[in-house]
């Protein structure tokens, strides 16, 4: 190598430590995959609720006791929580320059995502299997 460097690392070590060919791609890819899943699930939930004659808790629970409706709603809540957490992650990375605040917010985002996922699984399991 003709390029001058200020590092004691060997060329192999530098190459191994560079680039996003491993896990760096995962965040971007999962954002897209959850987005694709959210298109049909989101539209189904939105139009089912909009089309309900009377929007009352009892009516919605009755609708959710249909396994297909419960499954799509659960997928919507899970994929939505994941997609939202990935998105908030990117926004925090871009605009919060204080490292401690940045890490704390991204940690809280992940905790909130897990709590939301647990709550939606619990909710739909309870409605389906009571």
């Amino acid at each position: 190598m003709t390029q001058q460097t200020n590092s004691f690392q060997t060329d192999t070590a530098k190459v191994k430590g560079l680039g996003s060919s491993k896990s760096g791609f995962g965040h971007w890819w999962m954002q897209r995959m959850s987005a694709v899943l959210l298109i049909p699930c989101g539209l189904y939930v939105l139009f089912s609720l909009a089309g309900a004659e009377v929007l009352q808790a009892q009516v919605v629970v009755a609708w959710l006791t249909q396994p297909f409706n419960a499954a799509v709603t659960l997928l919507f809540a899970l994929a939505g929580s994941y997609h939202g957490a990935l998105g908030v992650d990117v926004v925090v990375e871009d605009y919060i320059h204080n490292h401690a605040v940045n890490l704390t917010l991204r940690y809280l985002t992940k905790i909130l995502m897990i709590v939301m996922m647990m709550s939606s699984v619990f909710a739909l399991a309870t409605i389906l299997f009571g």
Binding site: L46, L55, A57, A85, V91, F122, A123
Partner: protein, 125 residues
Amino acid sequence: MNKPQRPLSPYIQVYKPQLTSMLSIMHRITGLFLSLGLVIFVYWLYRLATDLNIANEVIGFFQTGLGCTLLYVWIFAFAYHLCNGIRHLFWDVGKGYSIPAVYRSGYSVLLAAALLTALVYFLSR
């Protein structure tokens, strides 16, 4: 690390707003807003399973003036983020990058989002 002593790009104080940049920032803002909405949605699901009275109170709030306004902002944000998200997916596979195509898809996204919101409004009447 030395901080650069010059304005950082894009210098938004003098940056002329364009359809492209406005739609881009709207995608972020609607995304953040939808994340907040999803927290309420999941809380509502949890209450549907545990306490129907509280679940009905949540519905009741979204039938008040403030709640209903919030709900329709949320529905428009959902419709916009969904349509513009599809536009992004086309870009991701390398389609629609020419300037006329970007403007055409941009206006189409706004129109489609408005139509979807109107459709939800008429279905829920």
